[in-house]
């Protein structure tokens, strides 16, 4: 049930036919984990908080550095040296105090990931490296939690939505480890990609629209072009290959 204040706050989006008051209540009952409070995590968290997700758990082990501020818009100069999750929580609470923001300053590992995502409806990938993405992907598959992948480099980005056991996962096209490099990026790229990830989460939670499942969306900011590529489940995938859609 929405409060009078919530009705006023969400007035414009409740007007959207696909959302309505019933949809807004669904968002209020939802619990979302955002893995990463950096370039992608910032717009994802801002838009999901603004949209009225009931509970958001944001996980990041890192502290704010000056070199983050070209893209990680949740963090400001005064936050340098502080935990990113604390900086994020302070801003998000100021934006929407009705959303419960849980800040976890931990490194995501195979050992703790199950606990870190416990009780959530969806996991959003806002990481900056492949090994942790694969840890999250495997956990999402095992727990059958939808996983919303995004990644950026330069002016480019990509998005893929993963429904475990039903659609291609992040590991389905894996050929081997990729070397870690310092990636170039300008803030407008994660702004676009994070906003699309947040849109996917909202669509999934409301059961509306057409998700980016089995469709890898590529954004090329330099050409101002979106492209779509078909990806398939890989029956030999070491993360999801053994799952069937009925499991």
């Amino acid at each position: 049930m929405l409060t009078p204040s919530e009705r006023e706050r969400y007035d414009r989006q409740v007007l959207i036919g696909e959302i309505g008051e019933e949809g807004q209540e669904k968002l209020k009952r939802s619990r979302v984990v955002i893995a990463g409070a950096g370039g992608l995590g910032s717009p994802i968290a801002i838009y999901l908080t603004a949209a009225g997700i009931g509970r958001i758990r944001i996980i990041d082990h890192d502290q704010v550095a000056l070199s983050n501020l070209n893209r990680q818009i949740l963090h400001w100069e005064k936050d340098i040296g502080n935990n990113k999750v604390d900086s994020a929580r302070a801003k998000l609470r100021s934006l929407n105090s009705t959303v419960e923001i849980e800040a976890i300053a931990e490194t995501i590992t195979e050992g703790n990931v199950s606990r870190l995502v416990d009780g959530c409806n969806v996991i959003v990938d806002a990481m900056d490296n492949f090994p942790t993405r694969y840890v999250l992907n495997r956990c999402a598959i095992e727990k059958k939690i939808p996983f919303f992948h995004g990644a950026v480099s330069g002016f480019e980005g990509r998005v893929l939505t993963i429904l475990p056991g039903e659609t291609a996962c992040l590991r389905c096209r894996f050929r081997g480890p990729v070397p870690e490099v310092k990636f170039p990026v300008i803030g407008v790229a994660p702004a676009v990609i994070g906003s699309i990830q947040a849109t996917e989460v909202i669509k999934y939670l409301l059961g509306i629209g057409r998700l980016l499942t089995n469709r890898l969306l590529i954004y090329d900011g330099l050409q101002a072009k979106f492209s779509e590529f078909k990806v398939d489940r890989n029956p030999t995938c070491d993360h999801c290959g053994s799952l069937t859609s009925k499991e």
């Binding site: 990644a151 480890p177 890989n234």
Partner: protein
């Protein structure tokens, strides 16, 4: 078969800035060999030891993944090959 190969932004330094390169071949592997004959710098951009595609490179034929066994995938006249690069950043 006449096929267009779409070059990723980060690889265009090896193709004189060309975004699309016309090639000939019956498989993805043959097309990439023709690409490399025209632009030898693409070899190191795409392949590692033992002529194995680098793990970071993704191949799509007419907007569908060519994974696995990308190099032996057949292509037909007018197909488009996109060479993408996996992105790690967040």
């Amino acid at each position: 078969m006449a096929v267009n190969v779409h070059i990723h932004t980060t690889h265009r330094q090896h193709t004189n800035g060309l975004e699309v390169v016309p090639v000939e071949g019956n498989t993805v592997g043959e097309c990439l060999s023709h690409l490399i004959r025209q632009f030898p710098g693409m070899e190191k951009a795409l392949f590692g030891k033992k002529n194995k595609l680098l793990n970071v490179v993704e191949v799509y034929v007419t907007h569908a993944t060519a994974h696995p066994n990308e190099l032996i995938k057949p292509v037909k006249d007018g197909d488009e090959i996109h060479l993408l690069v996996m992105l790690a950043g967040g």
